[in-house]
Structure formats: C-alpha cells, structure tokens
Amino acid sequence: MSRNWDLLREELTEKITSAPSVGQLEQLRVEMLGKKGSVNALMQEMKSLAPEERKEFGMAVNNLKKTVEEHIAAKMAELKENELNEKLAKDRIDITLPANDFTYGTLHPLTLVQQEIEDIFVSMGYAVVEGPEVEFDVYNFEKANIPADHPARDMQDTFYVDVERLLRTQTTAIQMRVLEAQGSHLPIKVVCPGKVYRRDDDDATHSHQFVQMEGLVVGEGITLADLKGTLELFARSMFGPQREIRLRQSYFPFTEPSQEIDVSCHVCGGKGCPTCKGTGWIEILGSGMVHPHVLEMAGIDSEKYSGFAFGIGIERTAMLKYGIDDIRNLYLNNLKFLKNYKRFD
C-alpha cells in the first residue's frame, strides 16, 4: 500500500496556511500533532506495517511531521505579528497633543553675565573676592584716594548710614580690602563682583542698585599695555573674537592714568548702528593704573610695584549683550522676562 505523501502534505500545509487566527492554528496543531492528532495516527499505523515497510513509512511520517511543525511555527509567528500589529494600530495616539511640561528654571541674567565674567578671569588665574555691601567710608572712599572734600564724591551720590558707614558705591571698596589684606603678599590678581548702591532715582538707564565687577592686578612691572592686553582678551571672550578695544582718557581718583575702554560694536561690527549710537564703539569699562597713593596707603612700595584696575557694570553688559532697553526690567523680575534667559549665550 502506498500513500500519496505529497498530497497529504499539501492538504495539511494548506489547512495551516489558511488558519485565520492564533486560536484556530492552535486547534489545528492539536488536530495534527496532538496525541490524537492525524500525524500521530499515522505513527500508530506504522506499528501495523511489515518491518521492511516501516523504515520508509517512518521516514515519510517524520518528514511530514517536521514540515507540519515548521509551517505551524511560521504561521504562528505570522499570526502573532499580525495580532501585535493590530494591537499597536489600536494603540495609536495623537502625537500632536501638548507635551507634559518639564519646566526648567533659569538664572537671573545678571547672574549669567557675572558668572561668565568670573569664569573668564578665573581661567586667567584671578581669584574672585567678595566684600560687604554695608561698608565703611574708609574702604569705599578714603583708601581709594577720595578724601572727604574730594569733588569725586559728587560723582557718586552716596547712601550714608552714619559718619563711618555707607552703602558701598563701588566695588573698589573690595579692592581696598584686598590691598590691605594682601599688600604684603604680592602679586595680587583678583576680580571683585558685588552689588553697589547710588542715591539715584530709578529710570530707564539709572538704578539705585546695580552690580559691578572690578579687577585688580598688582605686581612688579605691571604696565598699561598689560591692562590693555587683559581687557582686549576679556572683550573678545565676552563679545566675540573680532572685537577691538580702544582707550580713551578719563578720570578715576584711584588710578592714574585712567581710561574708559570702548569696544567695537558687537551688533554692527563697528560700522555704526543704533546700539553704538552710530559711533561704532561702545563704552563698557573704566580702567587705569593704580594710583601710587593707593598703593602707598596699603603699604606697597609704589616705586617698585605697579598695578592696574578696571571696573565693569554688569547691568550695562547684560543690557548690551541681550539688547535690554530698560534697566528696571532687571529688577522687576517678571517671569516672562526671566524665562527668556535660558543660558549665557
């Protein structure tokens, strides 16, 4: 008796291939490969065959079983994938709906600018030193070469507390403390950031409170060219590598000679625009060589040592950097304003 194995295989694989669902395929698997399944029935049938026929028959049944298993596995994978795909299709969401809000905070623009400047100078080996805002007249004025009758006191209208104390009008006060503390341990290389106060009415360009950062270098052989080179490097770090600086004669009681430092306009590159009022230059710093009296008051031999000092307004720098038109914005702390300053940039 010979069977048409080919036909049988086709019949079974056809059933498998056309199974519509995982459940029905599972049922087919039981029907075909289960203990009472058709393939197993063939195995039973083999037992009744003559030994010489068994071998061939056995091989044929095994082949058939293997084929059925393979087909079922393949079909099962296919059906499961389909099922998953259907499920995924049902899971489809509207990805255009609003995201969950992962708000991050911001640092105040004055902090961003102050930290940036601190980092520029720290990278050059400067120490960052703070000092008290309620300060003694002696550090704010006297030691900075501004005695009581000095006309420069008019330059800075001062909030006084009593005869000795005032609200610091300039971070120069910190420099004077540094000179006093470190005058015998030269060289000195510091920047001094901090809030200062002037008896001014607040308007778009004036604030009775603002932030300054002053720098001081004292050592042997410090020159005006060192000052220029340092501030050139600073201006380029802050406002871009193309910036040029120029020195203009000015006056500060604690430096001699004294200069204002202009930086070529970062908005127009020096061609002239509203930011630089058409001049191509923006005034950003005051500077000078430390006045010999100031050094002497700190017990430093002004014939042997020299130094330079400079000061920068953090508000002004922030306003220039970000194009802020009214200084009061920096102190109103409107969140719509603050949230704009995500990084230094």
Binding site: E118, E133, P151, L167, T230, E256, H291, L338
Partner: protein, 798 residues
C-alpha cells in the same frame, strides 16, 4: 560745559580741522564731547525785504506779502502778527530744510505762498535765549541787512556748533573757556592766543573796606568802580553769552557772567549805591532766614559763608547774592567781588539749600588760585570798553594772593616703563611744552616741569605720565598680558556653594530673581528670619528705600504678587542675597516662593500640588545636596506672631541645634495683602548653615543582598506625630533596619474620632547575607512592642 566752535576759533586757527574731528580728539584726550548741536540751521535761507503786506482775504490773521529776495519778488503768506511792509526778514525758500521740516511752495487758503518768513526759533535757536517779541513773531533784521544775501546764518552769527563737554572732576579748570581753549589747543597741537586783558586807565585810591572773618574765605579781591553806564551789551557779547546758554541782561551783568565763563572765576557785582558803608565782611556763624536774589527764603546755618555789610547779610557767598544789592537799570557804580571760598563748604551749603548755581558749581569743584586777579582785571578792561567805566579805585585785597607752583621732575624712563612705551625725551618734553608746563631738561632722563596754577590735578610723576599718553595718543599702547609669578585663583567656597545652590534650584524648575536690598519699614517688620536690627539709610530718597533688608521674604512676596498680577500665576522663585544687621553682621540668605500648584499637563489633568511638604522636601534636598543629611534636620512648629506664615502650617528648621530657616504656607492675611494664593515659602540662613560642618562624601558599598520589607499598620492617637513613629521604629530597630517610610494616613471609617491609622513600610537588609524570617523576627517584634508601649499604638492586622 558748553563751548562753541566759533568761540574756540577766536583763540586758534581751526581752518584745517572739522568740528567732528575736534570733538573726536577732545573725547579721546579726556574732554568727552557728549553731544554736538548746531545753534541754528536752515539749508536754503535768504535775506528778503517785504515790499507789500496786505491782509489775507480769507483769514483774520494771515498776511499776503510780496517779498524781494534779490533774484525775484515772491508772494509769501505769513501768519506773524508783526510782519509789515518795509521790513528786512529771513526767508526760507521752497526746499529749505528747517529743524521743523521742509518748506514747500503751496497755496494757503487760496493764496499762493512761495516760501516762509522765519522767526529765529524756527531756525532752531534755543527759545530760552529769545525775547517775548522774538518768540511771538518773525525776526526783524536791521535796515542795513543785504537783500539777497544767502549766508543768513553767518550774517546772524548763528552758523555755529555747540560742543557739550562732560568734564571729569579733576578737570574743573576747563569750566574756564580760556583753560578749555588751552587744553583743546594742546590736544590739537595748536598755538593758542588768549585775549590780552591789560588796560590803561588812571586808578583812584580805594575807599572800600574789606575783611574776612573766616578761614573759609582765604582770599578776596574787591574793587569799586564809581561810575558805569548801564545799557545793552554789544551783539558780539550777547551772541557769545547765548552760545554758552546764558541770557544777556545788560552790559554790566553780562560782563560778570562773561568773565566767569572766560576765566572760571565766579564774580559778583554789587550796586555801589546799595552798599553805602562801602564795607564788606565775609562771615560765618550767622543763623537766620535770608531772602536771596531768586526771592526764596533760605535757612542759613552757622557753618555757611555769608557776605555782609554793616553786619547785614547781602549774599550767600559763592552761591547767590541778594535782591537788595543787585545791579539794575539805575545802577551808577559797582563793587566787584572776586573771592576764593572753601569748596567743601560751598558744596555742602549749596546741596543743603538745593541751590545749584553757576557760581556754586565752580566753587564746589575748586577754582584757579590765580583766577581772581585775572577776572578782576578782565572785568575792568571790559567795563572800560563797554560800560564807560570811570572812577576806578585800587583793588582791595584780603588774604595772601601769593602762589607757589608745583615743580615735578618727570622721569622719562619710569613714564615709559609704566606705559610700556618708547617715547623719547623730546616727545615727552614736547607734550609739556604744549601744556605750558615750562619743561626744563635736567638730565637725559629727567625733565623738570612747573605746573600752572589752574592744573590743580597734577601732583606726582604718574599724573605726568597721563598727560604724556593722552597727548601722544593711546594708540601707542601695546597689548600684553601680565608676566608675574603664577598664583592660585578661583572661586571662594562661598561662591562655589552659591553656584551649587543656583544650579540645584534651577534644576528644580525655579527662576532666580534679583530684588532691591533697600526696603520700607513695613517690609522690615515682615521679615521672618530677621538678621536683627536693620541698618537705616540716613539720607534716604524715599520711605520705600529706607532700610537695608534683614530678611528676603518681603521682597519675594512683592515679586510673587507682581507676577500673579501679570497672570504669571504658576511660579517658583528663588533669590540668594546678603542681609545685614546694624552690628555690621552679614548673612547670606536664600528665599523661595512656590505657587500652590504647578500644571504639568492640563489635558491629562496632571497637576502638582505644592504644600507644606513640598517646601519641606525642597529644604531637605538643598541641605542634603550641601552635605547635611536629613537626620541632622528637625522641623519644629513655631507659631509666629507676624502673620506672614500660617501658624499651624509652618516650621522653624534646625540643623543640629541651630536655627537655620523658616518654612511654611503663607498666612491667609499676608496672602490677601500681596494678592497671592496659598503659596509656600522658605527662607534659609546660608551663612549659618555653612558655619556648621557638613558630611564629606565617602564610599559606601552598594548592597549585595536583597532587602525585605514589612508593612505595619497601626492606630494611634491624633497627637502622635509621624516623626515620633519613625523615630521610635528607628531607635528600636537593630543595624538591620535600613528604612522606614510612612505610606498611608487614614482617618474616619472604622477609626475612632481623635485617632488615625498610620501605615509604615519597614525595610531590613544585611550587608553579608540574605535575611531569613528568623533573622528579623526579634527586631520586628521589638519594634511592635515599642510602638505599643511608647505610643500606645494599636497594631492592625497585617
């Protein structure tokens, strides 16, 4: 300080340089030109003659004029009330650009108008310098004005440019136009020729008695001119005064103002007839009400310097004279006062009285010690020339007029060393030459200079180095970096910690604010972690900015309120700033405010509620980040009387046993005051925290064996706190106890009133083995017993 191009031009040849170039060089050299403006402008002006002037047929105030402009006769409609036939006038031709815009041909109410007849203010002349008549009508030119002349501004002496110079305090000498001209000449390297003020006249013996009873008036020169004739000043003088922004009054008054402008020395002229005693004494020590020239009563104090005659005050020295001795149209003779007053006293008096006059500004900034004599001589010269002066008495002097000039040896090498330049001795000498410092070469390296009396800012060789660099130009300065021994730089610990805090709070989603340190009395009273008695500003500008704050919270509340009022009603704000007390103690504080909710997703209804436990968690996180683990903190309820924080939803924060902060929910009354919702707040004293030793980070092994957890549910009295439960468990638990977490609190239902059910997860773990039930049994039973005994807890089935 205002000076005009034409004024400077009198003293030096400026034909090869533009006003813009002059301004640039002045600015680079230290005389900052803040602005340049034309005195008047008009691109296409001509002098015309009104041939005919008839009323406009369709108007009650306009006139139709036929105007001869030289080349042609134009019809111009004019609205000025003073226009009349026969007048010589200024005509702006069609196309002329005036400050107010362009003039065009047109038709005005049916009458053709081919230009405009101008008033001076229409050319941009400062209205303050014009008379009522000039302000209300067109300018009537003199009969001899040449019709057809197109150089109208030049004809009017208005083709001038005003330099607005901002003087630094060290260069108050340049308040004198002569000194300023010298300075400009030096910067431009030009020869400056100032007016010669010598005169020839007979003088008569002095009949004037002058004395000073105060060292605040070290020098006083006085002179009587017995006869002067008051009349208007000549046009050149009026024009110069106008260009400096000074109104012309009459020849004598104008001379006093003009000489002050020229020399920088304030002068005062008294009407001789009104000081019949012919005696002036300068005094201090008066205390009275004095009515000055401006008609205002001023309270004079003993320290103020007063000018008196016969014991009666006639002027506040150096600031303002009195009405009863001023020059008027009837004046026949005058007394000239040129004095030196203490700049400090003048500044103090002027400031106290709120009297900011030209004279007080000059005196406050310090004047040339030789200026008085110069000013008197120049005045006499001009009075002779312009006021028919006669009966000129000898000058009476009070004080010592001698002056010893400062002599400095300028070291060329040191100057070059400081500037890092290679200027030659000749170059340096040339600078001193330009500045009239009378250089004298002592050696190859030393140039001896004699400083003029007005340059009171030059005292040491470093001052001379400034003169050298600003004259030879800052463009000679190179660019190097300091070559000095390397020292360690960097941020202080305090600044590093501040950055850590800023980054942490920013990462938590908060926005940093910076607010004003000066606050009002009520804000001081609202401080919750006050540093102590507040520092008060003695010369406050307003009550709002009166005290240096002792706590940051009130400013924070104001900022939060400001934002809520602008619909920024979900906020997380922080500020780190210094506060002070009156013992000069500084504390760095951190302040936080969070709105009561934060929407994460509106449509998914994900909303984070911020309550007491949020702010408590933030404080714990901050402290943990800085190295102060939670177990070192304690939160103690503390009703505060200030009604800023909710009395039962607030706490004082202790680190070890030190009070370091306050946290809580805002008090409803305070919320109402600032228009806030139920926000949560914290203020920490960072200085106090940093003063306490923190825990350094060290390696702890990652657990290798699993942890086992048990839940305990218990009913306790309402008064029993979560902290008591956790502490009891921790105290009883052995080294195997790793963690205790309260995970449920339940009231009501089967729980009796006044009790609550608390569920706690207790976690055990060992470093060396996997724990079995046997390992834990004793410990766990011990905990249960402790809860029962110590807290009267009733354990529920678990």
């Amino acid at each position: 300080m205002r000076v005009t191009y034409n004024w400077l031009k009198q003293y030096m040849d400026l034909s090869d340089i533009t006003p813009e170039q002059i301004a640039e060089i002045m600015t680079r050299g230290g005389l900052e030109v803040e602005g340049m403006e034309k005195v008047a402008s008009g691109s296409d002006l001509v002098i015309g003659k009104v041939l005919e002037c008839v009323p406009h047929p369709d108007s009650d105030h306009l006139h139709v004029c036929q105007v001869d402009t030289g080349d042609t006769v134009r019809q111009i409609v004019c609205g000025a009330p003073n226009v009349a036939a026969g007048q010589k006038v200024i005509v702006a031709l069609p196309g002329c650009i005036l400050p107010g815009g362009e003039i065009k041909s047109g038709v005005i109410r049916g009458q053709k108008s081919d230009g405009m007849i101008c008033a001076l203010f229409e050319l941009g002349v400062d209205k303050k310098q014009l008379t009522e008549k000039q302000l209300s009508g067109i300018e009537e030119l003199p009969e001899d004005a040449e019709v057809g002349n197109r150089e109208v501004l030049k004809y009017l002496n208005l083709d001038d440019i005003i330099f607005d110079v901002s003087l630094t305090p060290n260069r108050a000498d340049c308040l004198s136009i002569w000194a300023l001209a010298k300075e400009v000449g030096a910067l431009l390297n030009k020869k400056v020729a100032l007016p010669d003020y010598s005169y020839e006249t007979e003088t008569v013996p002095a009949t004037f008695k002058l004395s000073s009873e105060t060292e605040k008036c070290p020098l006083f020169e006085g002179k009587i001119i017995n006869h002067v004739v008051i009349k208007p000043s000549p046009k050149w003088l009026q024009d110069l005064l106008h260009s400096a922004g000074v109104k012309a009054i009459n020849n004598v008054v104008d001379i006093s103002n003009f000489v002050m402008l020229e020399t920088g020395q304030p002068l005062h002229f008294y009407d001789l007839a009104k000081i019949p005693l012919r005696e002036i004494t300068v005094k201090t020590g008066l205390e009275e009400t004095y009515t000055a020239l401006d008609g205002i009563d001023y309270q004079i104090k003993p320290e103020d310097i007063m000018i008196t005659t016969g014991g009666k005050a006639i002027g506040i020295a150096g600031i303002m004279g009195g009405d009863d001795s001023k020059i008027d149209d009837e004046t026949k003779g005058i007394i000239i006062e040129a004095a030196t007053f203490s700049n400090v006293q003048i500044r103090n008096t002027a400031r106290r009285l709120g009297l900011d006059t030209e004279a007080s500004q000059h005196f406050s900034k310090g004047i040339d010690p030789l200026g008085g004599h110069k000013a008197v001589e120049r005045s006499v010269q001009l009075l002779l020339e312009l006021a028919e002066a006669s009966g000129i008495e000898e000058t009476v002097l009070c004080g010592d007029p001698s002056f010893e000039p400062i002599v400095i040896d300028a070291p060329v090498n040191k100057i070059n060393g400081l500037l890092a330049t290679k200027f030659t001795a000749e170059q340096v000498e040339s600078v001193f030459e330009r500045l009239d410092f009378h250089p004298e070469k002592v050696s190859d390296d030393i140039i001896r200079v004699t400083i003029p009396s007005y340059r009171r800012d030059i005292k040491v060789w470093q001052d001379l180095s400034e003169e050298v660099v600003r004259m030879l130009g800052y463009e000679n300065i190179g660019s190097t970096l300091p070559l000095i021994p390397t020292i360690q730089g960097g941020l202080s610990d305090r600044l590093k910690n501040k950055r850590v805090l800023q980054q942490l709070l920013m990462g938590m989603g908060m926005n940093e604010i910076v607010s004003y340190s000066l606050v009002s009395k009520s804000k001081i009273d609202e401080g919750i972690l006050s540093a102590g008695e507040a520092v008060e500003v003695s010369n406050r500008l307003s009550d709002e900015r009166r005290y240096f704050r002792t706590s940051l919270l009130p400013s924070m509340l104001e900022t939060a309120g400001y934002n809520v009022a602008r619909s920024n009603d979900e906020y997380g704000l922080f500020e780190i700033a210094n506060v002070y007390n009156n013992d000069n103690e500084e504390q760095q504080h951190l302040c936080i405010a969070l709105s009561n909710k934060k929407t994460i997703s509106r449509w998914q209804k994900l909303i984070q509620e911020n309550d007491f436990y949020t702010i408590k968690g933030i404080v714990i996180a901050i402290m943990d980040k800085l190295g102060y683990p939670e177990k070192r903190l304690s939160f103690q309820i503390e009703s505060n009387s200030k009604a800023v924080l909710h009395p039962n939803k607030s706490a004082s924060v202790y680190l070890d046993r030190t009070l370091v902060g306050k946290i809580g929910v805002i008090h409803p009354a305070c919320a109402k005051k600032y228009d806030l919702d139920e926000c949560v707040l914290a203020e920490l004293n960072m200085t106090a925290i940093y003063g306490i030793r923190n825990v350094k980070i060290k390696f702890t092994p990652v657990p290798r064996y699993p942890a086992v957890s048990y839940d305990l549910a218990m009913v306790v009295d309402e008064e029993v706190t979560g902290e008591q439960i956790v502490k009891t468990i921790k105290k009883t638990g052995s080294s195997l106890l790793r963690d205790v977490q309260i995970f449920d609190i339940y009231r009501g239902g089967s729980i009796a009133e006044g009790s609550k059910s608390v569920a706690v997860k207790v976690t055990y773990q060992s470093d060396d083995r996997t724990l079995s039930e046997d390992d834990i049994r004793d410990v766990h039973q011990g905990i249960i017993a402790a809860l029962k005994n110590n807290l009267h807890a009733v354990l529920r089935d678990s």
